[in-house]
Symmetry: C2
Subunit: 205 residues, 2 copies
């Protein structure tokens, strides 16, 4: 659990952050083995060797731990997407890589960590703040590529930028949201290439 | 249950078809009130006033009844989509109406018949033959509009038709499949207009 976020809660020293990280690391391990839904904070406390009260000192609920794990997961996915986009030079290729990386990152979460995926599904159903923030950052990444492509002359400029960005995001969304993705496995292989080609055709000046 | 399909099963007379229709009509009523998942064939038999054995003479399982109801539902949706498309003259407007009608028909199924929607969800999860056939007919409708638009000069002809059709279908799919649609309520209002505009931009010659 590298790069766990540090919360600006006054009166908490670095030692507290270490404990938080330790709880999140152990919970990730535990959830990925036994599942998120079925595990209680008591189970978790027993497994880690902490008292339940001690865990509650750091996290107010199981969901708070789940949110931290989810945030880490989404940050990893976002980094993978960003890295893929940054590898490309031109905006059209950036957009292609973005589609591809989103589908790959979502599928990886699904196949490698079937149990962690359960957390992402709860997050998406219950509209956890961390998933909304993730969606927003993906939208910003998309908007930046579009803007760059308009400046470079690769993309058309007639359609309002917001409208273009919103429509492309709607096309991407089924592959970002784990609950939707589970119904799109059949098409997940060819979808990124087909959809990014369609989107690029729609963007041609 | 007007227009229930007549099955070409030899040795069965029109009277049998009437009984089948009667069972389907009663089952539709019963499922829409009490839900599909929770109802057994015994419950259904009791509610209709037929014996369980008599129902099994006409349908081999609850799913077989569900499939017939589902087929009727999907046929109604398909008719609504076809009617909307036929109202328009030019291929671009046909495509716009198709997107709009698909979302509206799917949402209607959801809001009016919350319980019947359960059947459609089972159908989509278990890949019932009737839903695959529905998807295929929607794909054919889409392909016909694209072909017409290529002939009229409204749509570009460089991209292979199959590729164009497959990509646009992928964009439509989240709004056709009831399991996916339930995660897209937030965007269901503006989605048809935004997506069809994007798709039309991608088709411009």
């Amino acid at each position: 659990m590298k790069n766990a976020p540090t919360y600006p809660i006054s009166g908490r020293g670095p030692a507290d952050h270490d404990v938080r990280d330790q709880i999140v690391a152990a919970a990730t391990e535990h959830f990925s083995r036994y599942g998120y839904e079925k595990t209680t904070v008591s189970d978790l406390a027993k497994a880690i060797g902490f008292s339940k009260a001690y865990i509650y000192k750091f996290f107010e609920s199981k969901q708070a731990i789940g949110e931290m794990i989810c945030a880490n997961c989404l940050r990893e996915m976002e980094c993978a997407v960003k890295a893929a986009v940054d590898e490309a030079d031109r905006p059209p290729e950036k957009l292609r890589r973005m589609f591809k990386a989103i589908v790959e990152a979502s599928l990886r979460l699904f196949s490698e960590d079937q149990k962690l995926y359960e957390i992402a599904a709860s997050a998406a159903t219950e509209h956890w703040q961390v998933t909304l923030a993730y969606e927003k950052r993906i939208q910003e990444m998309l908007q930046a590529i579009l803007q760059e492509g308009r400046q470079s002359g690769d993309f058309e400029r007639k359609t309002p930028l917001d409208e273009t960005a919103a429509a492309i995001y709607l096309v991407m969304r089924p592959y970002l949201n784990p609950l939707i993705l589970q119904h799109s496995f059949d098409s997940a292989e060819e979808a990124p290439a087909q959809l990014s080609s369609l989107v690029l055709r729609s963007l041609s000046p």
